[in-house]
């Protein structure tokens, strides 16, 4: 699969101009998007402008910064000034932000080439990307299957050869799950490493922006390019760059395995994980068995907190200042009610109702407060884990990509987040790396969770695996641009 280094080589060796390359991605996107539905909006003008700036720079002989001239996809919940940002919702179908997200601001400053805005579950709520007002994204490895959620369009575009890398957001697994389903690397950074300014909020204390890439080194490059302490986001702290630190050497590294994360897995996933563990042992890592009894509380904790924050964050969509407005109403209250009922899809409405309920007088202590207490216990549990090991290894998702349109109850759907959302609750960095295929040839991912701001450890551990397997599990889908 195409990596950032591949494009860089073509550009610096002058085998192709940035404009030519960009045009190829735009053409491929125009051609293949009707199949994959990876993009909600194609941004040809912004892409070609950036490409021309890169070509000018190349002609002048100047050095390119790491992401300069590389075509990418930006999730459509990250604000782009002057370019509509829909959150895959009818509510924001025609919403054009008047300011840039911090992440897009820094990428734009580096002449990153944005091909388009990536499809997603509405307001990032979902595990399959099917909750999009614009229809779900398809999995390039098998278009009968979903791309995963919520950053499904981003993963679909990257795996489908319609972008070299992507930027997603992860509240309970929304980067790692689609990366796992589409055979890609997905990094959810430590909470606070990347600014959330301009990221349209879902669960503010859980949301984090991160990369979806075709290899571990690219994930490190993109992470370095987007993490910074932003004075406009009080919770952002920035992070040390990691690209220079990756060696792929895991000799003496302590990898923790907690049995609770492996319960009830399908054979194919269990086997792929077993193989990975053996391989790490072979590379000189020490595998440590641990307990993680708090895992059974992770899912309710996550859904209470995420829904509570969502119900608050989404209160602003009342049709008065921007976004969808109903045209049939009696009075102000009726206007707001109808606007919200018509503008939001069913899953978003469900989570707003759940969140409103858990914060209500009389229920607050039973739900929200308890979830806060559990959150603290989960943080403590992780702290204990990292006294015994350097990195925790788990499967990313207990299933492989679901069939498109599979009939699942909301609770069944929520359960697919069980292995990923603990990292969000504790604010820890976690990466998903491809580690195998199921009997249908659908990708399987393994997840590495590290201590706060230890992106260097988890990415290095991931790199060791990727190198040892020669990237065999990052399989080309055969779609999109081939160089």
């Amino acid at each position: 699969m195409t990596t950032i280094a591949d494009i860089k080589r073509l550009l610096t060796e002058k085998k192709a101009s940035c404009r030519e390359l960009t045009q190829r991605y735009l053409d491929a996107a125009a051609q293949t998007n009707p199949v994959l539905n990876a993009y909600i909006t194609l941004t040809a003008e912004a892409a070609l402008d950036a490409a021309d700036a890169v070509d000018k720079k190349l002609q002048s002989g100047a050095q390119l910064s790491p992401l300069e001239g590389i075509p990418f996809v930006l999730k459509d919940n990250i604000s782009t000034k002057g370019i509509r940002t829909t959150c895959a919702s009818r509510m924001l179908e025609n919403y054009v932000p008047i300011f840039d997200a911090d992440v897009w601001e820094s990428l734009k400053g580096q002449n990153a080439v944005m091909i388009g805005k990536g499809n997603m579950d509405e307001f990032a709520m979902g595990s399959t990307c099917e909750n999009s007002y614009f229809g779900g994204s398809r999995n390039p490895h098998n278009t009968e299957h979903v791309a995963g959620g919520s950053s499904g369009g981003v993963a679909s575009a990257v795996a489908g050869g319609l972008a070299v890398y992507g930027i997603g957001s992860d509240t309970g697994g929304s980067i790692r799950m689609p990366a796992s389903f589409c055979g890609l690397v997905g990094l959810k950074p430590t909470y606070g490493a990347v600014s959330r300014r301009g990221l349209i909020a879902y669960g503010s204390s859980l949301d984090q922006i991160g990369p979806i890439t075709t290899c571990v080194e690219d994930a490190a490059l993109v992470f370095d390019a987007i993490c910074r302490k932003d004075p406009g986001d009080m919770t952002s702290r920035g992070a040390e760059p990691v690209s220079g630190k990756l060696t792929g050497n895991v000799k003496g590294l302590k990898i923790g395995i907690a049995k609770e994360f492996f319960e009830g897995l399908p054979d194919s996933i269990g086997k792929a994980l077993d193989n990975a563990v053996s391989l790490y042992k072979k590379l000189g890592a020490e595998v440590v068995s641990l307990d993680f009894p708090m895992l059974k509380y992770v899912l309710p904790t996550y859904y209470i907190l995420a829904c509570a924050e969502a119900s608050s964050n989404l209160g602003r969509y009342d049709g008065l200042r921007y976004g969808y407005r109903t045209d049939d109403f009696n009075d102000l209250n009726d206007f707001i009610c109808r606007t919200r009922s018509e503008g939001f899809g069913p899953e978003v409405r469900r989570r707003i109702l759940l969140g409103t309920y858990v914060l209500s007088a009389g229920y607050y202590d039973a739900y929200y407060n308890k979830a806060q207490l559990l959150r603290r216990s989960i943080v403590v549990e992780f702290a204990k884990v990292f006294t015994g090991c350097d990195v925790l290894l788990t499967p990313t998702v207990p299933v492989t990509a679901l069939r498109f349109g599979a009939d699942m109850t909301p609770v069944e759907m929520y359960q697919t987040d069980i292995l990923t959302c603990s990292a969000n609750i504790a604010g820890l960095p976690a990466v998903s790396v491809p580690c195998g295929f199921d009997e249908k040839g659908l990708p399987i991912g393994l997840q590495l969770i590290g201590g706060k701001f230890r992106e260097d450890i988890i990415l290095n551990t991931a790199l060791a695996f990727e190198r040892e397997t020669s990237g065999a599990f990052c399989k080309d889908s055969g779609m999109g641009v081939t160089l």
Partner: protein, 472 residues
Amino acid sequence: MKTYEMVIGLETHVELSTKTKIFCACTTEFGGAPNTHCCPVCTGQPGSLPVLNQSVVEYAVMAGLALNCKINRRSIMARKHYVYPDLPKAYQISQYEQPLCEGGWVMLDSGKKINITRIHIEEDAAKLVHQGGAVCIDYNRGGVPLIEIVTEPDFRSAAEATEYLEKLQQILRAVGVSDCRMQEGSLRCDVNISLRRQGEAELGVRSEIKNLNSFVSVATAIEYEYERQEEILSAGGIVEQETRHFDADTGTTSSLRDKENADDYRYFPEPDIIPVVIPDSVLERLKSAIPELPDAKRARYVEELGVPEADARMLTKYRKVAEYFEEAAAGVKTPKTAATFIVTQMFALIQTEAERENWSPPVTAAQLNELIKLLESDKISRNVAKRVFGQMLESGKPATAFLTEADLVGFNPASLEPLCRTAIAENPKSVEDYKSGKEKAIKALVGAVMRASQGRANALEAEELLKKLING
């Protein structure tokens, strides 16, 4: 004695006078064309994030210190949810658990302490403007920093409530954290009032009267509400717990919403703002920046400067007037002379609260100081000084512009004794009265000396010399 006692608590919202809003860099300036002082943050655009203005924290801490509060070294912001078009995020960022300040007090002149439960910081809502049948939203005010000062139910009369509010206004103005202009809405008040039988300890059911924006409204609303509740209770009825609206035109209150329809604010900690931590160094700096407060200043004027109590009260009511007074009285022998000039001649000219608060008089403090020094050095008489000061106030010119040769002749101290002897010789009746113990009779003799000197003699010195001459 009345059968029922009123029990009142106040919640006061005060706009802080920081340059910028609480969570963005927009100006807090009052006025301005609608929606010209706003940005993605204070209009709640998707993806915008609040950044807490540290000046707001510091202003609020100073208010807390001046009101004798304990400053919580770690406090947290919270979201308070309600749906209304003036609130663009559908929540107000405020404080709930762990507010910035707790447990202060304000002392009334009677010596009674009004206890302050808490002071917290929050953002103001936008303003709805009704325009020809339409409702428009002006976000200029949205995000202006507020402190909410909540008292215990310690008031027993409308007079106590208004005295507290006046003191609060003077203290916050003295500290310089707010201009507390009720007419511009920078000080607004909610009143909680309940009645109980005299001598009873248990509190009655209260009603809350929202958004009172003048001292008169506060007093009128309390009186009205007392009568309304008294009527219900006397008839054996039960007061409903509810929120009421005050109509300033009729002086009455009416129900806004009852307990059943009370808002459920669904408070929870604001995840976008990290906890507010006040380090030792900051607290120490703010403590040392608290100026002398009005009550202390008044006591000092009376005790150390010999200013009459009533004058001292007027001077300390307005921060700028007090500053003016101190400059005018600097280095003079009788500071109370400066006080008299200000409180009589200047206040007669500068009459409104707003003018006194803004205090930009035509005569500078240095000019007044100069005039007082001329008077004290006997270069001019008191009558001349009064006349000249009036001319200075009219024209803004210094005293020297109006002093004629005749004014400046001054008074030769050597001529005081002959004048006194003449006065004694010509007023034997007064001398007799004085000798027989009528202290006041001396004033008639002083008057004679003053007349003879055309007002230029020093009355105090004349009195002393007269007494000496009479007593031998």
